[in-house]
């Protein structure tokens, strides 16, 4: 069974990788990282960040809301401590980068371009960072502006992580492609809210948060389907994947690879199960190359 897929400048041994923010060095205690298609870090920022106030997580029906606020130690500590840890693994390392301005994004991309990093995922979509949850990827002009600066700052393959919180998804996707993105990650979490009726207060300290988990899968599958028709670069599907069939749905909709996020919390070994289930499906259906399934559900 040939599970390899080509994604944004990289050839992956299989299409399954973690979603940024749901994965870290600690996962090496639970699963064999060499079994994954790629390793995707939590977003790294130019400077250390304290993150948002608690509570940062709330459970909803078949999903979860989070507003962590990209707590982290910043790029200097990341390059010094985190990149060397991942060099011991064969799976390519994709570093997610996030900054507040286009120039900071470019500087950050340059600082993250070090040996051991295979690609950058440009997080232009985190809904928690800007006022009222706005982000670069809500707007095609802003998307093109920031990605052109990042493109000029590094030779690494660039994956642009898009937001579902826009009415201009395909235009944003095309803007990212025009700016030189090598692949698109569709998508980040859906801006959402939950209220505790007993306390009459929002369940999340930051009031709004990003919704993820099985609840959002049909929405993001639709977005992958639409985006795949609008651009020629590969798409990585991300949203509510819990099983091999979920991952296959994304491939059939037009994704070349998938990211598993929330379900890593539910079942830390989920990505390994998903890879095995995809292989079993391919065998059952006489598919010799998993890549042959990409976009198979697209209606001409």
């Amino acid at each position: 069974m040939d599970m390899r897929v080509a994604v944004g400048g990289l050839m992956l041994q299989n299409p399954v990788m973690p979603a940024s923010g749901t994965f870290g060095e600690e996962m090496a205690q639970v699963i064999d990282l060499n079994a994954l298609g790629a390793l995707v870090t939590k977003s790294v920022t130019p400077l250390p960040r304290m993150g948002n106030r608690s509570p940062r997580v709330a459970e909803t029906m078949a999903g979860m809301l989070n507003s962590v606020g990209i707590q982290g130690k910043g790029i200097t500590a990341f390059v010094r401590d985190t990149v060397p840890f991942y060099r011991e693994f064969q799976s390519p390392l994709v570093v997610s980068v996030s900054a507040d301005t286009a120039d900071e994004f470019a500087d950050l991309a340059s600082s993250a371009t070090v040996p051991g990093v295979a690609a950058l995922e440009v997080n232009i979509s985190c809904p928690n960072l800007e006022d009222d949850g706005r982000s670069y990827a809500m707007d095609p002009v802003q998307t093109r502006r920031v990605l052109e600066k990042v493109r000029a700052a590094t030779r690494l393959p660039l994956w642009a992580k898009l937001t579902p919180n826009t009415g201009a998804l395909t235009e944003v996707a095309q803007a990212a492609e025009a700016a030189g993105a090598d692949a698109l990650v569709v998508a980040n979490t859906i801006l959402a809210m939950a209220i505790d009726v007993e306390t009459r207060k929002p369940k999340i300290g930051n009031v709004m948060g990003g919704l993820s988990g099985p609840a959002i899968k049909p929405i993001i599958v639709r977005m992958v389907y639409q985006t795949a028709r609008a651009v020629r670069i590969p798409i990585i599907g991300c949203g509510g994947i819990a099983s091999g069939n979920d991952a296959l749905e994304y491939l059939l909709a037009g994704a070349s690879a998938v990211q598993v996020g929330t379900y890593n919390f539910v079942q830390p070994t989920a990505m390994l199960t998903i890879i095995a289930e995809m292989e079993a499906y391919a065998t059952r259906h006489g598919v010799t190359r998993i890549a042959d399934l990409i976009g198979a559900a697209q209606q001409m």
């Binding site: 090496a28 205690q29 939590k42 608690s54 890593n264 539910v266």
Partner: protein, 303 residues
């Protein structure tokens, strides 16, 4: 308290304890992690066999699981991340501290109050069912072999978390005094277990009007004045934590507190369970799942 001539920082105590304790007392997940992150795959994600799951009072349930590998690895204060339903409801696991560790029988026991959808599903487990568990996770309690006595003060479901501390202290020859606080006498479920571990227990309840801050202050002050107590341990109440912080600081005593917080991953990757702590270097945002759930008492910022 004159016998405690110097106050060690918790880090010193932790380091000293790790050097001197018998191996079984120090095999925390986080501590072993420093020795190498790989090579322990599969050991954290495991299936336990339910031995019994009984309602033991109006609100509390006692769950016993056969899980020899996990029991052998588990230190007091560590927790397990339990899958409560396999049909996606609830979606997330629930963190649960361990009430009793029986290594010789390969058993872990949990004591929980049925509150929401997760614990309601957990209460449906029957003898012979399997329980999907990840753990042991986090930093547990540290006991120093030189200590003569420790005082445990806990409330409600926090009583369960201190059960293994009483057992471990007893094995190390450290005298245990425990103040157990609850709404009613019937909710003080860990008293008999604590007593079986050799602890001297005192029960205070809302019903009897003995659990208020003023009464607790007097009770704890009397204990500290009359017994050789070298450290304080607490879990389950912000109010009690604040009181003990104050009393420990006045007397130069070290302490440890186990905290609870809603979690995402349980492993330390998602930063969902972070709270602020007052450390020497200033306020730090630490993960309850990975940096805790047990923290130095003085560093906890109560809310």
């Amino acid at each position: 308290m004159g016998a405690v001539s110097t106050v060690r920082s918790m880090n010193d105590v932790r380091k000293a304890a790790m050097r001197e304790l018998p191996e079984r007392e120090t095999r925390g997940f986080s501590e072993s992690a420093s020795g190498g992150m790989r090579g322990q795959s599969e050991s954290l994600a495991q299936i336990g066999g339910v031995l019994f799951n009984q309602q033991v009072s109006t609100r509390y349930w006692h769950l016993a699981v056969s899980a020899p590998t996990a029991a052998a690895a588990c230190a007091p204060g560590q927790f397990f991340y339990l899958r409560c339903g396999d049909d996606g409801e609830p979606l997330l696991r629930r963190p649960m501290s361990v009430y009793q560790i029986h290594r010789e029988r390969g058993e872990l026991h949990f004591l929980y109050a049925v509150k929401g959808v997760g614990t309601t599903r957990l209460a449906q487990l029957r003898t012979g069912d399997s329980l999907d568990m990840v753990g042991p996770l986090g930093h547990g309690f540290t006991l120093h072999p030189d200590w003569r006595g420790v005082l445990l003060v806990a409330r409600g479901v926090g009583l369960a978390t201190l059960g293994p501390v009483a057992a471990a202290a007893n094995r190390m020859g450290i005298r245990v005094t425990a103040v157990l606080s609850a709404q009613t006498e019937r909710d003080v479920l860990s008293e008999s277990y604590m007593r079986s571990c050799g602890a001297c227990t005192l029960v205070v309840t809302d019903d009897a009007g003995t659990s208020g801050v003023a009464a607790m202050r007097e009770l704890v002050a009397n204990i500290l004045a009359s017994e050789p107590i070298d450290a304080l341990f607490t879990c389950g109440s912000q109010r009690l934590t604040a009181l003990l912080q104050e009393m420990a600081a006045e007397r130069g005593l070290p302490g440890q507190a186990a905290l609870e917080e809603p979690m995402g991953c349980g492993l330390g990757v998602c930063y969902c369970c972070v709270r602020p702590f007052a450390r020497k270097e200033g306020i730090e945002q630490l993960r309850v799942c990975r940096d805790g759930p047990v923290f130095p008492l003085a560093e906890v910022i109560t809310r």
